[in-house]
């Protein structure tokens, strides 16, 4: 179970993708995932200035679910909620490629930064990345 959320500068969610291998649980689980990710934002903001690397390993931990973060130099946060602590390297590669895709979206002149990303092509590519690195 992995949930990927891109959070903008005003703590607004810009994009969300859930890579869930088991059948969909109740909607309560979805709310819990969102809640955990947003709760991890504070921890992320604390850890951001402690390192020069863009990839912050596990920033938060709750009930066997880890949150990892990757913060772009423009302070856009990529958060991943996952339950397997051993996929750090895969996560890093996932985040790097997601960053490239995000940059391509930003360079689109019709896209206003800090607004939700609705491009189906972006969504398809992120899901392909998820299949490649997270399963």
């Amino acid at each position: 179970m992995n949930v990927f959320v891109i959070v903008g500068k005003d703590d607004n969610p810009i994009y969300q993708a859930a890579f869930i291998s088991q059948p969909k649980g109740s909607t309560e689980l979805c709310h819990l995932h969102q809640f955990l990710i947003h709760a991890a934002l504070d921890c992320t903001d604390e850890q951001v200035w402690t390192t020069n690397s863009l990839f912050l390993r596990a920033v938060d931990f709750f009930h066997e679910m880890h949150t990892s973060a990757y913060v772009t130099p423009g302070h856009c946060r990529f958060m991943m909620l996952h339950d397997q602590p051993k996929i750090e390297d895969n996560l890093k590669n996932f985040f790097l490629e997601a960053h490239e895709l995000y940059l391509k979206v930003i360079l689109n002149p019709f896209y206003e930064p800090n607004t939700p990303i609705t491009s189906p092509a972006f969504d398809a590519k992120i899901r392909a990345l998820g299949k490649k690195y997270l399963s």
């Binding site: 020069n52 690397s53 772009t72 130099p73 423009g74 302070h75 940059l103 930003i106």
Partner: protein, 168 residues
């Protein structure tokens, strides 16, 4: 690098389009101030996106001075085709970047009818770009530019807002 190979843009194309843009805004807006504001706003958005793109492999930038260094040594050469010539300060939150051969304006000719002041509208968009780049990296700075005697020599003044000595 984004994309399969390094894509270049024709410099002549860029200069001509920039000239058309300045001409369009000066004629389409009622006052010169609103035209300048609009061009600066456009430059701001472009600068934000360019800064995001060029800091991709840079790592975290934690100090405003590092942002300034990034703008001076990495951002400027890529956006304005050549590195700037000098960076000076008055030690009180004012920084000056001088470019003695600013490509975007070096071909403007100044006559008795078209003065340097008229040509200064060509610096609004580049100022916006630099300002947007600072803003994307979380530094609140105002950027103004002037010509030093000829349209090739430009002095960009960067005013860091907030505390006198920028610290995070």
């Amino acid at each position: 690098m984004i994309g399969r190979s390094e894509r270049m843009c024709s410099a002549a194309c860029l200069e001509l389009m920039h000239a058309e843009m300045v001409s369009y805004f000066l004629s389409a807006r009622e006052t010169r101030e609103s035209a300048q504001k609009e061009m600066e706003r456009l430059g701001f958005r472009v600068g934000q996106k360019l800064a995001e793109r060029y800091t991709k492999d840079y790592g975290r930038i934690t100090e405003p001075m590092e942002v300034l260094r990034f703008i001076f040594s990495d951002f400027w050469p890529v956006v304005f085709s050549k590195p700037p010539d000098s960076l000076t300060t008055n030690n009180n939150s004012l920084y000056y970047i001088e470019d003695t051969d600013f490509r975007w304006t070096s071909k403007i000719s100044v006559t008795s009818r078209t003065t340097l002041e008229d040509a200064s509208y060509f610096l609004t968009f580049p100022c916006g770009i630099v300002k947007g780049a600072f803003a994307a990296l979380d530094v609140d700075a105002d950027v103004k530019a002037d010509f030093q005697e000829t349209p090739s020599r430009c002095l960009f003044t960067i005013i860091f807002k907030g505390k006198a000595i920028p610290t995070r």
